[in-house]
């Protein structure tokens, strides 16, 4: 298997050019209450679209930013060659049609139940088979690399899909920072869990905290995104604030939300949906129109906003970047 040939020396090789840290500081951050009010205010005036940027500036002048809270506007984002030119979904679709079982199982539940989710202060523990384990604050994460906008297709196992302009940088940047040891073959991820903030979780039917995993080479693939925002702003709670993974060639549940722990390890980590039903949700969970979910076909999908279905693409259309990682593998067996 490819992964066995992986060693830390190779990790940095495919790395993109790392510029000096981004210009983001506390001072650039608008408090969430201000931000939300501004949205209401703009909506009320019916000028959200074109004039929003100008209004933002004025508003910030009128109400100077205070401490760091959730919603941030990101500027100076780099464009990415991985971006698709397909039509993007509306922010409203992407924020009101979510699977985040900690906040309820209906698609509309997370938007309703996550608004008081406390995402600041936040830190992510990076540990396990690494030379330099670290606990990173959100501020530190935002400074690891210049932020890119990556417009990705996102395919849910439930046969719907979206196109979202995510913001972040390749996960490999973070991995390189902590220097995985030669023993590291997998990366395990864990979502924050607090039953008091997430009382709906007990009806979810799955175990929490939510855990996911990738093979090390998958995690190091430049497409694998450590994501901190979308649509030019920081992530809303229901979309996995403040930091999550985006693994666009795999079904959506692999793109774990609200990360608190990243662990490099030798053994394949357990993953939440696989634990729930291993015949239905494999460890790999690569988007594959030829391997059906036992209960439904995966050959087609419905893009949100569309009535009829469209064919699902192998590796969600990212075969050029990822197919070589699975050469010679039985993708039905390792689904």
């Amino acid at each position: 298997m490819i992964v066995e040939q992986y060693c830390p020396l190779q990790i940095g090789r495919k790395e993109m050019l790392i510029r000096k840290s981004p210009e983001l500081t506390h001072a650039d951050v608008t408090p969430k209450s201000v931000y939300l009010d501004r949205r209401k205010f703009l909506r009320a005036m019916g000028i959200v679209g074109v004039t929003a940027a100008a209004a933002n500036g004025l508003f910030d002048l009128a109400m100077p930013p205070q401490t760091a809270l959730a919603a941030t506007q990101f500027t100076g984002l780099l464009k990415s060659p991985f971006s698709t030119t397909e039509k993007q979904n509306t922010p409203n679709d992407v924020t009101h049609y979510n699977n985040f079982y900690e906040f309820g199982t209906d698609k509309g539940d997370p938007a309703k139940n996550s608004q008081n989710f406390k995402t600041s202060p936040w830190s992510v523990s990076v540990e396990g088979e690494v030379t330099k384990p670290r606990k990173l604050t959100m501020d530190e994460i935002l400074k690891l690399a210049p932020l890119e906008e990556r417009i990705y297709r996102h395919r849910c196992v439930e046969r719907w899909s979206i196109v979202v302009p995510w913001i972040g940088f390749s996960f490999s940047v973070l991995a390189k920072l902590v220097e995985p040891t030669p023993k590291a073959r997998y990366v395990a991820f864990e979502t924050f869990f607090d039953p008091r903030q997430m009382p709906q979780a007990k009806y979810g039917g799955i175990d929490f905290p939510y855990v996911e995993g990738l093979r090390l080479d998958e995690a190091m693939n430049p497409l694998a995104l450590l994501c901190v925002g979308m649509y030019g702003e920081s992530l809303p709670p229901q979309d996995g604030a403040p930091v999550r993974m985006i693994v666009p060639w795999k079904y959506g549940y692999k793109s774990i939300k609200s990360l608190v722990k990243i662990r490099f390890q030798e053994k394949e980590p357990p993953t939440t949906w696989n634990r729930y039903s291993s015949s239905e949700y494999g460890f790999y969970s690569n988007v594959n129109p030829n391997v059906d979910h036992p209960r439904w076909s995966q050959a087609k999908e419905r893009r949100l906003g569309e009535i009829f279905t469209r064919p699902t693409l192998m590796f969600n259309g990212y075969g050029d970047q990822v197919a070589s990682m699975y050469n010679g593998m039985d993708l039905k067996k390792y689904h």
């Binding site: 009101h96 209960r295 439904w296 419905r302």
Partner: protein
């Protein structure tokens, strides 16, 4: 109470009430207020209302007996036909947006996917019931045979619940809720059937009891 139940206007009112979910969907379509996945919204709403109307229909007989309101029978056909109305819409949301009106593709899907198979079976079972829901058909078939045929609704309701249960990923509360309602309504009938068997058995023949049909 009886005067209210037999009033023509009550029937009209119930008819209009049964149309409210449909009117709501039409209104939402006009207003584009079906959320991020409109097709799924229509599929779930029509599926939910089918199960609800099946449950309402199955409630009529127990309620007639338990509440001593035999006139409730006046609404059973209407409720059953509304179940059929909503399941037909449900089927159309599948045949159209999901299968692009491709019948060959649909048959393949029906044959391959247990959750589609069982849902499609429920739909098929309800078709003859809708057709033979008229007084003319009761006469033509004869009361006993007509009643036998219409027991298909029991199977259809169970299939409908299984269809829903197999659809959801892990939160099975709603399918189990419908399952519990259907189970209670069918067990009540089973209880009646068992006590009837006893009544008709030679040993108990000396103490005849009123039978519970339906």
């Amino acid at each position: 109470m009886r005067a209210l139940l037999v009033s023509k206007w009550t029937k009209v009112a119930v008819f209009l009430i049964c149309l409210i979910p449909f009117a709501d969907l039409v209104w939402r379509i006009i207003k584009s207020d079906l959320g991020a996945n409109p097709v799924e919204y229509l599929q779930h709403a029509t599926g939910d209302w089918t199960l609800r109307f099946l449950v309402f229909t199955l409630c009529i007989t127990p309620f007639r007996k338990l509440l001593k309101l035999p006139d409730l029978i006046r609404f059973r056909r209407m409720l059953g036909l509304f179940a059929f109305f909503y399941v037909s819409l449900h089927f159309l949301t599948y045949l159209g947006p999901d299968q692009s009106f491709d019948l060959a593709g649909m048959w393949k899907d029906v044959a391959k996917r247990p959750f589609i198979t069982v849902g499609f079976t429920a739909f098929m079972l309800l078709i003859p019931l809708a057709i033979t829901s008229t007084a003319g058909w009761i006469r033509r078939l004869g009361g006993k045979r007509w009643q036998m045929l219409h027991r298909c609704i029991y199977v259809a309701a169970v299939c409908g619940v299984i269809h829903y249960y197999w659809l959801v990923k892990s939160d099975v509360r709603k399918p189990l809720f419908y399952g519990a309602l259907v189970a209670i309504l069918l067990l009540w009938r089973l209880g009646g059937w068992i006590s009837r068997q006893r009544t008709h058995s030679p040993v108990r023949a000396a103490t005849p009891r009123t039978s519970m049909n339906g």
